[in-house]
Symmetry: C2
Subunit: 180 residues, 2 copies
């Protein structure tokens, strides 16, 4: 059986810095009319850089909504019209200084499909070359080196809870295991 | 090195059905003042029910922000004051009809820690007992049975992109592998 929710009309309720919020009226498959609140987000890219020995470079940064520092794979929002792969490469360079010979797509992450349009595209970077990072103004973070096995442990025991990083680590680990 | 962003003040910009949005002023560690936009969400729980042969029960439902149907682990928002485990058990029953002898915590998922407070708590249910599902009004979904190996394939090839479901499947699969 297939379901559909057809937009009737709607209005923008909030126009913000990162997100906009719209409140639509939609018709369900049984003909009933409901409100659908949608947080619109430009989307982004996440990239896990891993060297030939399996060591990965993550960033530790303060996340205001959680009022604590989180360990995450480098990531950033898409700029207007930007290709996700270009965004990933740009964020990798800005946050860690690395360039990479190989960029492997690990798939999309719909972070909250019940109410948000945010899609993150997740990549693995291999064949790393060290350069100098160059953070945006007002961006403060530390780069940390952890082995993929340690990151997998931190993910499985819940110490890493950032969704995109959990996905990047577990997919990268499975990919490595499949290559053995 | 440790970073901190201290809230100075802020105002609620939007009060909605699922989310609220606040726009704060915060002081960074270098003393500069920035805006911090925060989407406030009550959080939720996700639960992947798996039988003794490794078959899992997922739900296919229309997701308005993506205008398509997605295959997801059963999930729902926390009701006011609700414990995440109770929420998981409630959603499992409502969406699939199952009760479970064993509920295993697989960790938290911060879906979008850059701008949203949403935390999803992820569980694995085993020792399943079939009952009758009882959907909320206006909730339309189909229950589908897939083996954990097939779900892992769908996650790895990108066909399943819902973040919480990707995490639930990959963590459950690793847990199974570790038990062998």
């Amino acid at each position: 059986m297939s379901y559909f929710e057809k937009r009737i009309d709607g209005e923008q309720k909030y126009k913000g810095v990162i997100v906009n919020v719209v409140l639509d009226r939609a018709e369900l498959c049984d003909g009933s009319i409901v409100k659908r609140e949608v947080v619109q987000h430009p989307g982004g890219a996440t990239i896990l850089p891993m060297d030939d020995e399996g060591y990965c470079y993550c960033v530790r940064q303060f996340r205001y909504p959680f009022q604590k520092e989180l360990l995450e794979a480098p990531a950033g929002k898409l700029e207007y019209g930007e290709n996700p792969r270009e965004c990933a490469v740009r964020e990798l360079s800005e946050e860690t200084g690395f360039t990479a010979d190989e960029i492997i797509y690990l798939g999309a992450d719909y972070t909250s499909p019940g109410f948000s349009t945010e899609t993150l595209h997740i990549y693995l970077a291999r064949g790393l070359h060290k350069g100098k990072n160059h953070l945006d103004e007002g961006e403060f973070l530390s780069v940390e080196k952890h082995h993929i096995d340690e990151l997998t442990e931190l993910v499985m025991n819940g110490e890493i809870a950032d969704g995109k990083t959990v996905i990047a680590v577990l997919k990268a680990k499975r990919l490595l295991e499949s290559e053995k």
